[in-house]
């Protein structure tokens, strides 16, 4: 149905076209496209026609020279092809402006193009260079020699036209051309070739003022395989450097330890004199710390002065003095180091000498036993063998809690730990320690000082090896000095008449029951005799009686005593305390 209108439309269109085609009209306006001169002697102009107009059209070119109004027509329409005009040498004048116009003419009319002014000098575009040759030269480092000739028509010989050249090179498979400017020369060298590749070369030229020509035809050349000098040198360098590198690595490998030490220096370890890390690893702290202990420190020179001499007096009747001591000690002395006899032994008493003397009857002998400081007091544990270990154990147990700071003191005192537990059987019968009033309690301060000395006994059980270190013997003197008693004689009743050697601490008395250094006075006999009791009980005696007389002088001569016992009886005075200590001060006053 709609085909009808379509068909109608088409028919109408066709009719219109036919009519239009039959419409004749003058030709369209032609246009001069370009004029070119290849050698500055002749030139050619081309034009393009406009619309046809339906009729055959004639084209004609007219020109006019500068400074002349004469109009000439194109001399040659055919030489240069269609729609062109060729001006021969005779018709060409340089340095003259040409005014050129093209006219299109058909039956109906004509049409003029726009005029164009041309000076031949400025429209020179030569032909391409000719005879392009490419030759490979050079044996080791080959290079290309490119030669060419100027276009045939260009008269460069007379200098009429001077041409400059340009060439371009590329590998066959490449895309980009590499351009080189050759100037006015007609030869060119190309270096740095890739071996085994095919090269393409082209060349073109241009007058010193003008247009570039077209590129010439391509010349191909194949470069043979070769190893360039550069490459061989590089190979040599690589080989040598590889060799040196290997040598270097080998040297490093040989000396890897020193290299390692150089690069990563080891962390310095501790350097404490006497400190052995191996011991640390073994885990025995005793050895380590013992290694740290300096042998000669402190210098022992002046300790010799402080050596205290001790006398240990035992009563063989009684049990182990030690046990007494134990009883005597108050709670303060938790360590039951009652191995101390009451004879004013300060701190580090008990020494081996004591043990030697344990079994001797002491008759008429001055029992000045010199106790060297630092010797262990081995209490005549005697009977309490069984208790000894106990005590020892107890001591050892209790000791650490008591006196952690007393290491040094303790070390001082106790030399021979293994020698310790020797029991002496003290014939207590022989010993009747008539303690003169010199046996006094020490003043509190000193007493306190003495306490560590008591510990020293226990320290005998410590694991520390005593090596004669007399560290704190300085503390000794105040605490210890006073316990010396000298036996003057033994009276007929086997009573020791004691006489104090020193009287350093005369007047201060402790009412406390220090235990270690004190003996209990049983009673006073005949006013001048103190009967000392060796008490088994834990408490001190409290039966102190007044004994005015000889106490003051400090020397007591005992006379007439009952056997064994010295008993002090009497009204207790204020100074007498329950502990049973003799307070001679009270007696004095």
């Amino acid at each position: 149905m709609w085909k009808h209108p379509g068909a109608l439309l088409i028919l109408s269109l066709l009719a219109f076209v036919v009519l239009c085609c039959s419409c004749l009209s003058p030709p369209g306006k032609p246009r001069l496209t370009s004029c070119r001169s290849p050698e500055k002697e002749t030139f050619t102009c081309w034009w393009e026609p406009g619309s046809d107009g339906g009729l055959p059209t004639n084209f004609s070119l007219f020109y006019r020279k500068e400074n002349s109004d004469t109009v000439f027509e194109c001399p040659d329409y055919h030489t240069a092809g269609k729609n062109s005009c060729f001006f021969s040498k005779n018709d060409t004048s340089i340095w003259v402006n040409y005014n050129i116009t093209v006219v299109a003419t058909n039956a109906l009319g004509s049409n003029f193009s726009d005029p164009v002014d041309v000076d031949v000098v400025y429209i020179v575009q030569p032909h391409t260079p000719e005879n392009l040759t490419v030759v490979l030269e050079g044996e080791e480092n080959p290079f290309l020699v490119v030669r060419w000739e100027p276009p045939r028509m260009a008269d460069t010989r007379s200098g009429w036209i001077t041409l400059i050249y340009q060439l371009r090179v590329k590998l066959e498979e490449e895309e980009e051309w590499e351009e080189h400017f050759a100037g006015q020369q007609k030869q060119f060298n190309i270096f740095s070739l890739h071996s085994g590749e095919v090269y393409m070369v082209q060349v073109r030229c241009k007058p010193d003022h003008g247009f570039w020509s077209e590129w010439s035809t391509t010349a191909y050349v194949k470069v043979p395989d070769y190893i360039s000098k550069d490459r061989s040198i590089w190979i040599l360098i690589t080989v040598f450097s590889g060799f040196f590198f290997l040598v270097f690595i080998w040297t490093m490998h040989i000396n890897r330890n020193s290299v390692k030490h150089f690069l990563l220096p080891p962390v310095p370890g501790p350097k404490i004199k006497g400190f052995d890390t191996q011991l640390l690893k073994s885990g025995k702290s005793e050895e380590i710390f013992s290694a740290l202990v300096i042998q000669g420190f402190p210098p022992p020179s002046y300790y010799d002065d402080l050596l205290v001499e001790y006398l240990e007096v035992y009563d063989n009747k009684e049990q182990v003095l030690m046990l007494d001591r134990k009883g005597l000690q108050d709670s303060r002395f938790k360590s039951k180091s009652s191995s101390d006899s009451d004879s004013g032994r300060g701190s580090c008493d008990s020494h081996t000498l004591l043990m030697e003397k344990c079994g001797e009857p002491k008759e008429n002998q001055t029992m000045i036993s010199q106790v060297k400081a630092g010797e262990t007091i081995r209490e005549p544990m005697m009977k309490n063998d069984s208790s000894t270990p106990e005590s020892a154990n107890m001591k050892t147990k209790t000791w650490p809690t008591l006196c952690s700071s007393c290491h040094h003191e303790q070390n001082l005192c106790y030399h021979s730990i293994p020698e310790m537990p020797i029991q002496c059987d003290v014939p207590s019968n022989h010993f009747s320690s008539t303690h003169p009033q010199d046996y006094w309690e020490q003043p509190a301060g000193i007493y306190h000082k003495k306490t560590p000395s008591g510990y020293r006994h226990t320290q005998a059980y410590s694991e520390f090896n005593i090596r004669g270190i007399n560290i704190k013997e300085a503390t000794f003197p105040p605490s210890k000095s006073m316990e010396y008693v000298e036996v003057q004689h033994v009276n007929q009743e086997n009573t020791l008449i004691l006489k104090p050697i020193r009287q350093e601490v005369p007047d201060l008395f402790h009412t406390e029951c220090a235990g270690l250094d004190y003996s209990k006075v049983n009673r006073v006999v005949s006013d001048s005799v103190l009967l000392l009791q060796q008490d088994m009980s834990d408490q001190c005696f409290s039966d102190y009686q007044d004994r005015e007389i000889p106490v003051q002088s400090g020397t007591q001569h005992q006379s007439g005593k009952p056997p064994d016992h010295l008993q002090v009886s009497g009204a207790p005075e204020t100074s007498l305390n329950l502990n049973g200590y003799v307070d001679t001060a009270a007696m004095l006053y």
Binding site: E66, S93, I94, N99, P115, P150, S158, G159, Q185, H209
Partner: protein
């Protein structure tokens, strides 16, 4: 003013000659002494280089001026004007064949005339360009350089004439058509048009000079550029 300038130029030219321009020994002054002079081929080489430079400068100046001052519509018209360039008393050959028929003497003389006729117009052109408000510095520099080079070229050609032809100096009057006293009264457009014409014509003449000298060079010496291969 112009006469004064012309005389100044002449004076300068003479002065330069007096100052011992090293191109040539003055035979009169140094009759007794031998002096070294530049050989002919070198001289021709230098002259040709000068001419090439001048032409290049003139081309660039013309282009600059055209871009700066001349609207597009006018450019074609200007050339269409036709005989804008100078009229000469003698005809200059228009083709290669004609030129090749010309003798050396004629060539040299023609070159000299051409050069000398353009010295003063270029000088006045500089003054005119300075008057413009927005004349680019490059243009001014180029025209100045052109002038100086032209003067040098003239000296060289003179020496060449003396050497080749054995003649004395020849002076010609300057290009009258360009030394118009009515520069000042011209309006802007006229002035621009005139300057553009001046530059274009100078460019053409510079090319002539260059071509003639190159021909002469190839005639006289076996220069590399003249060889076919």
């Amino acid at each position: 003013m112009n006469k004064a300038q012309g005389s100044v130029w002449l004076l300068l030219w003479f002065g330069r000659g007096m100052l011992g321009y090293p191109l040539e020994c003055r035979a009169a002054a140094d009759a007794g002494r031998r002096c070294a002079s530049i050989p002919l081929d070198k001289l021709l080489e230098r002259v040709v280089q000068h001419a090439e430079l001048i032409y290049r400068l003139s081309e660039e100046s013309c282009t600059l001026f055209e871009e700066m001052f001349i609207p597009l519509t006018m450019r074609a018209q200007q050339i269409r004007g036709g005989n804008t360039c100078s009229t000469r008393t003698f005809a200059i050959p228009g083709s290669k064949s004609e030129v090749q028929q010309i003798s050396d003497k004629w060539l040299l003389h023609t070159v000299l005339i051409l050069i000398q006729s353009w010295i003063e117009p270029l000088f006045s052109l500089q003054a005119t360009l300075d008057r413009y408000d927005n004349a680019p510095e490059v243009l001014l520099n180029k025209t100045k350089w052109m002038s100086s080079k032209l003067v040098s070229l003239e000296q060289g050609v003179t020496v060449l004439i003396r050497k080749m032809l054995g003649e004395g100096t020849v002076t010609t009057e300057s290009h009258q058509s360009w030394t118009v006293a009515a520069w000042e009264s011209a309006d802007m457009m006229e002035s621009i048009t005139r300057d553009y014409a001046l530059l274009s014509c100078f460019k053409k003449d510079a090319h002539k000079v260059e071509t003639f000298l190159k021909l002469l060079r190839c005639r006289k010496t076996g220069s590399l550029s003249c060889l076919p291969i």
